[in-house]
C-alpha cells in the first residue's frame, strides 16, 4: 500500500503563495516590477514582504504555542504595550537600544505571564490569554497616556522604515527571526518536545518530558515575538498607537499558522511555512488594494480562507483518501 501524505504531494503553502502572486500579476501586470531607488528596492512584491512582516513575526511565536495545542490571543495587545514602551522611552530621552530592550523585556514578561497561567495554574490557553487581550490595550494606553506618542529617534525609525542590502528592515528582521528561531528549535530538542506535548501530553509525561518549562518557553517566545512586531509597527508609523497597533493581528497570526499547516490540535509544526502563510495573507491584501477593491474586502477573503482550510482539514474532506485509515483506527479504538 502506497500512500503519500497530502503535504508531500507538493508544498501546498508555496503553491498557494505562487497562485496568489500570479493572480496579482494578472490583475496588476506591474506587480513583479522591482526598481532600485535611493539604495533600496521598491515595488509591490517588496511591499508584500514589508507589510507582511509584523504578522510573519507574530506567526513565528504563535506556531510554537499552537503546536502545544494552545493559542495566544494576547499578541495584538502585547504589540500595543511594547510599541508604547519603546515610544515613550525614546521620547523620554532614553537611547533607542535601551528603549528597544525595555520593550522586548515587557513583551517577554507578558508572554511569561501567559505561560504561568497556562503551565502552572493550568488554565485553558484561550481563557488565560484572554486576560491580557482585554487588559493589554488599557495598559498600553496607560503608558502612552491615551495619546499617540510620536517620536523622531532615527535608530528606532530605522527599525521600521530602514533597509538592509536594499530590503526593508521589517522584512529582514522577520526573516532573521524566522531563521534563528527555526534553528533554535530544530537544532535543539525543543522542537521535538513541543511536538510531543502537543500530540500526547500523557505520553510525554511518561517519557520524561516536563511540559511546564516548555510551555513557559513557547508563551514567552510568543510574547517576545509580539514585542518585536510591536516595535516594528511603531517604528514604521513613527509613533505608538495604543488603540490600533496590532488590532486583530492575533487573528491574522493564528490564520497564518493554520495556513502554514500546523493543526490547531497541536503537534507537527513548521515555522517557515507559517511565515509563508503570513505572506499569502499579505499578498492577498496587497492584491486587493492594488486592484482597486476596498480594503475591507480583505476580511471577507480571510473568512473564505478560514472556511476553506476548515473544509480541507475536516474529517469529511479526508474521507475519500483515508477510508482505510479510518477503519483501522476504529478497530484499535476501544
Amino acid at each position: 500500500m502506497r500512500r503519500v501524505p497530502f503535504e508531500r504531494l507538493a508544498n501546498p503553502q508555496l503553491l498557494a503563495l505562487t497562485g496568489v502572486l500570479l493572480l496579482n500579476w494578472l490583475l496588476f501586470p506591474n506587480f513583479f516590477n522591482v526598481t532600485w531607488q535611493d539604495g533600496r528596492f521598491f515595488g509591490s512584491i517588496i511591499d508584500v514582504l514589508n507589510r507582511g512582516a509584523p504578522v510573519a513575526i507574530l506567526a513565528v511565536g504563535m506556531t510554537g504555542v499552537i503546536a502545544t495545542k494552545g493559542v495566544d490571543l494576547s499578541v495584538g495587545a502585547i504589540m500595543a504595550v511594547c510599541g508604547a514602551v519603546a515610544a515613550t522611552m525614546v521620547v523620554a530621552g532614553y537611547p533607542a537600544p535601551i528603549a528597544v530592550g525595555a520593550a522586548l523585556l515587557a513583551g517577554l514578561a507578558c508572554g511569561l505571564w501567559n505561560g504561568f497561567l497556562v503551565a502552572v495554574l493550568d488554565i485553558q490557553p484561550i481563557v488565560a490569554t484572554l486576560v491580557l487581550m482585554v487588559a493589554g490595550r488599557g495598559i498600553a494606553q496607560l503608558i502612552t497616556e491615551g495619546s499617540i506618542v510620536t517620536f523622531n529617534d532615527p535608530v528606532l525609525i530605522f527599525i521600521g522604515t530602514g533597509s538592509f542590502l536594499g530590503f526593508p528592515m521589517a522584512a529582514v528582521i522577520a526573516v532573521a527571526l524566522m531563521v534563528s528561531v527555526t534553528l533554535l528549535v530544530r537544532r535543539s530538542a525543543i522542537g521535538l518536545f513541543v511536538q510531543a506535548i502537543g500530540v500526547n501530553r500523557a505520553a510525554a509525561a511518561l517519557a520524561g518530558i516536563r511540559s511546564r518549562m516548555l510551555l513557559m518557553l513557547v508563551y514567552g517566545l510568543s510574547g517576545l515575538c509580539a514585542a518585536i512586531a510591536g516595535i516594528v509597527v511603531a517604528a514604521d508609523i513613527r509613533g505608538a498607537d495604543a488603540n490600533n497597533s496590532g488590532l486583530w493581528l492575533e487573528l491574522d497570526a493564528i490564520l497564518a499558522v493554520v495556513i502554514g499547516g500546523t493543526s490547531l490540535l497541536g503537534g507537527r509544526f513548521s515555522i517557515p511555512m507559517a511565515v509563508v502563510g503570513a505572506l499569502i495573507i499579505q499578498a492577498m491584501n496587497t492584491g486587493i488594494l492594488v486592484s482597486g477593491f476596498p480594503p475591507e474586502f480583505n476580511l471577507v477573503v480571510k473568512a473564505g480562507m478560514i472556511i476553506l482550510i476548515l473544509l480541507i482539514q475536516s474529517p469529511y474532506a479526508a474521507l475519500p483518501f483515508r477510508r482505510r485509515l479510518v477503519t483501522t483506527s476504529k478497530a484499535t479504538a476501544k
Binding site: 495554574l121 490595550r137 488599557g138 495598559i139 494606553q141 490547531l264 475591507e296 474586502f297 476548515l310
Partner: protein
C-alpha cells in the same frame, strides 16, 4: 451554598461594595438619572451578553457578535434610509439574516468538529467585511418610527428615564433567564457544557442544540445591533468593535464558567452592571482616563478566572494522572 453560585455571589458583593463606595464619593451616582442611563448605555452590551452566556455555558465562544452588531446597523440603515423599508420590516430582515448566519456557524462547528473560536472568527471577518463592502461610511437613520421609539420611556421619580432600549434589555435578560433555567433547551445547553459525550448518551439532540445556540447568539447580537442603531441613529460598519470581549468579560465576571457547564443569565446582568459601574465611575471622577476601564476589566477577568479555577478544581473528581490533559 452551591459552588456554582459562589463566583456570582462574589460579583454581587463586589458590585454592591463598589457601588456603595462610588456613592459615598459621588452621591449623585445614586440618582435614578444615573441608573436610567446605566441601563440605556449598556443595553446593547447586555443583550449581546445574554446570547454569549448561552454560548459560553455550552462550552463555546462567539467572537462574531461585535461584527454582527455592526453589520446589522449597516443593513438596517441601508434598508431604511436608502431603500425605504419600514424599520420594523428592516428589523425582521436583520434578525432573519442573523439567524441564518448563526445557524451556518453552528452547523460548521458541529459537523466539521472545529473549535468555535476559529469558526466564529471567520464569522467575524465575514460580517465586518460584508458591512464594509455595503458602505464604508456611517449611514444616518431618519425615520419617525425611530423618534417614536426614542421617545418611548418611563419617567422615574427623581428625574431619571427608563428608555425603551433599557427596558428591552431587561426583557431580554428575563427571557434569557427563563430560557436557560426553565426550558428543555436550557437544560440541553448546560448538558453540552457539562459533558457532550454524556449529553448525547442521555438523548440530548447535540447537533440541533448547537445550531440553536449560535442562532440565538447571532440573533441577540442582531437585536443588540438594532438597539445600537436606535441609540446612535446610524449604522456604521466599524460600530461595536471589541464588544465581543466586553460581552465575554461580563459573562465571566457574572459567574459563568468560561469552560462551560455553569452559569446564570442574571449573573451576566450583574456582570454588565459592574462593567457599566466602572465606566460611570471613571466618567464621574473626571481625572481617571478611559483606559482604566480596560485594565480594571482585565483584572476582574483574571480574578474570576482564577477564582473559578480554585472553586471548580478543588472539588473536581481526581484525575488519574496530574499530567493528563
Amino acid at each position: 451554598m452551591k459552588r456554582s453560585l459562589r463566583p456570582l455571589a462574589a460579583t454581587a458583593v463586589i458590585f454592591f461594595i463598589a457601588y456603595a463606595l462610588s456613592v459615598l464619593q459621588f452621591p449623585n451616582m445614586l440618582s435614578t438619572r444615573v441608573l436610567g442611563n446605566f441601563l440605556t448605555d449598556n443595553a446593547f452590551l447586555g443583550i449581546t451578553a445574554v446570547g454569549m452566556t448561552f454560548v459560553i455555558i455550552s462550552g463555546g465562544i462567539d467572537l462574531s457578535v461585535g461584527a454582527v452588531i455592526g453589520f446589522t446597523g449597516v443593513l438596517i440603515a441601508v434598508l431604511v434610509s436608502w431603500l425605504g423599508f419600514h424599520p420594523l420590516a428592516a428589523f425582521a430582515i436583520a434578525l432573519g439574516v442573523a439567524g441564518l448566519f448563526g445557524a451556518a456557524m453552528g452547523v460548521t462547528i458541529h459537523y466539521l468538529q472545529v473549535p468555535s473560536f476559529i469558526v466564529t472568527l471567520a464569522g467575524m471577518f465575514l460580517a465586518r467585511g460584508g458591512a464594509s463592502i455595503i458602505t464604508q461610511d456611517s449611514v444616518p437613520i431618519r425615520h419617525e418610527f425611530y423618534d417614536t421609539l426614542g421617545d418611548l420611556m418611563i419617567r422615574l421619580p427623581g428625574g431619571g428615564r427608563m428608555s425603551f432600549i433599557g427596558m428591552l434589555m431587561i426583557v431580554v435578560f428575563l427571557g434569557g433567564a427563563l430560557l436557560a433555567h426553565r426550558t428543555k433547551f436550557g437544560s440541553y445547553v448546560y448538558a453540552l457544557g457539562g459533558n457532550p459525550v454524556s449529553a448525547s448518551l442521555m438523548g440530548v439532540p447535540v447537533a440541533q442544540t448547537t445550531v440553536q445556540i449560535y442562532m440565538l447568539s447571532s440573533m441577540l447580537a442582531a437585536l443588540a445591533g438594532i438597539v445600537f442603531s436606535l441609540y446612535t441613529s446610524a449604522g456604521y460598519p466599524l460600530a461595536a468593535v471589541g464588544v465581543e470581549l466586553d460581552a465575554i468579560s461580563a459573562v465571566v465576571i457574572g459567574g459563568t464558567l468560561l469552560t462551560g457547564g455553569y452559569g446564570f443569565v442574571l449573573g451576566t446582568f450583574v456582570g454588565v452592571m459592574l462593567l457599566g459601574l466602572v465606566q460611570t465611575y471613571i466618567i464621574f471622577d473626571g481625572t481617571l482616563s478611559s483606559w482604566w476601564t480596560k485594565i480594571v476589566i482585565g483584572v476582574l477577568l483574571f480574578m474570576f478566572i482564577v477564582l473559578q479555577r480554585v472553586i471548580f478544581a478543588a472539588s473536581a473528581p481526581a484525575e488519574k494522572s496530574p499530567e493528563k490533559a
